[in-house]
Symmetry: C2
Subunit: 165 residues, 2 copies
DNA sequence: CGAGCATATTTCGCCAGCGAATGTTTCGTC
DNA sequence: GACGAAACATTCGCTGGCGAAATATGCTCG
């Protein structure tokens, strides 16, 4: 390893040296991403509890705001890599909390439009600051140039992943 | 953006330009990691279905092999960022499938030793090749140097995340 | 030596998400 | 213009994971 500092994945990898036909670099990259995502999820959940919201609720509101305040469930589901059934569940809880409203499409009555309520937008704004703080705290250990490098590399992987479907 | 190729996160980000007080780079990094992990999970689940195994079963066996063939549930849970209760559930299904065996610790009878069965080791070996192939296919769009750069950056983030606890 | 405190695991009730099946509405085609 | 196929959302049954409480064992100290 390069530096003297170790993370849990280093400790995991050294146990494997020579034990299996096995690309250490690939394992490292994959495992670290998995752990980072899991840690982020836990940090954000703890932070968002301050405003009585759950991570998945915020993410859904967030996508909805990005879409201009309204979108169809299937579109949201696809964007968030979620099954349609899962999205129905999310929307149920959001609607029950009054953060979101469902409206049958006037033109095509198979569709449903999901709209952000004023209360939903308000809570999203609050949560926005919280989430930004948590994510920044993590990513800011890298300087601007390093962040850009990291982002570019991740993007190339994601392009590959998304082309595979 | 640097290249002309776009991924879904690019498309997401451009909608946000100027709309919120919001670090685009941080959002990019975080969202791409989340999506990559989710994609990986889906790819691996599809691939592992060939040997009738689920992703979480493989990961558990994997950690168990790394630990030398046996470990305690709480140790495994901690290593995998899982709650003790969750680990009990995993071990239940693994034991039911005969891939793993639980043995009460002889010295300290509060403890349980989880041991890999021969069948478990055999199936792990099979799955190993499959998983390696899927992960490599993704990560190999980067050359060796790029992989190393990526790994080093991820590691610095993970060190930060793990120190936060 | 026994009462309480600590440790390790499991049980219990709950929740989010998935795949498959269902009910509607719309479209394409003959 | 009617009928089969496709598009959308939802319901249903199931599963993995979580937090809190329960259980069982070990340790410590008066």
């Amino acid at each position: 390893m390069i530096g003297r500092v170790e993370d849990s994945v280093d400790r995991h990898l050294v146990r494997w040296r020579g034990k299996a036909p096995y690309d250490e670099r690939v394992e490292g990259v994959v495992t670290r991403m998995q752990f980072l995502v899991k840690h982020l999820k836990q940090f954000k959940e703890a932070a968002l509890a301050q405003v009585g919201m759950q991570d998945f609720e915020f993410e859904t509101l967030h996508r909805l705001v990005a879409a201009g305040g309204s979108a169809t469930p299937s579109k949201l589901a696809a964007e968030m890599l979620l099954s349609p059934a899962g999205m129905t569940g999310r929307l149920d809880t959001l609607e029950r909390s009054g953060l979101v409203r469902r409206v049958r499409g006037a033109d095509d009555r198979r569709r449903v439009d999901v709209e952000l309520t004023p209360k939903g937008r308000e809570l999203w704004t609050e949560a926005m600051a919280i989430r930004g703080r948590v994510e920044s705290e993590l990513v800011s250990v890298l300087d601007a140039g390093e962040q850009q490098t990291l982002d570019a590399l991740l993007k190339r992987l994601l392009v590959q992943a998304e082309s595979h479907r």
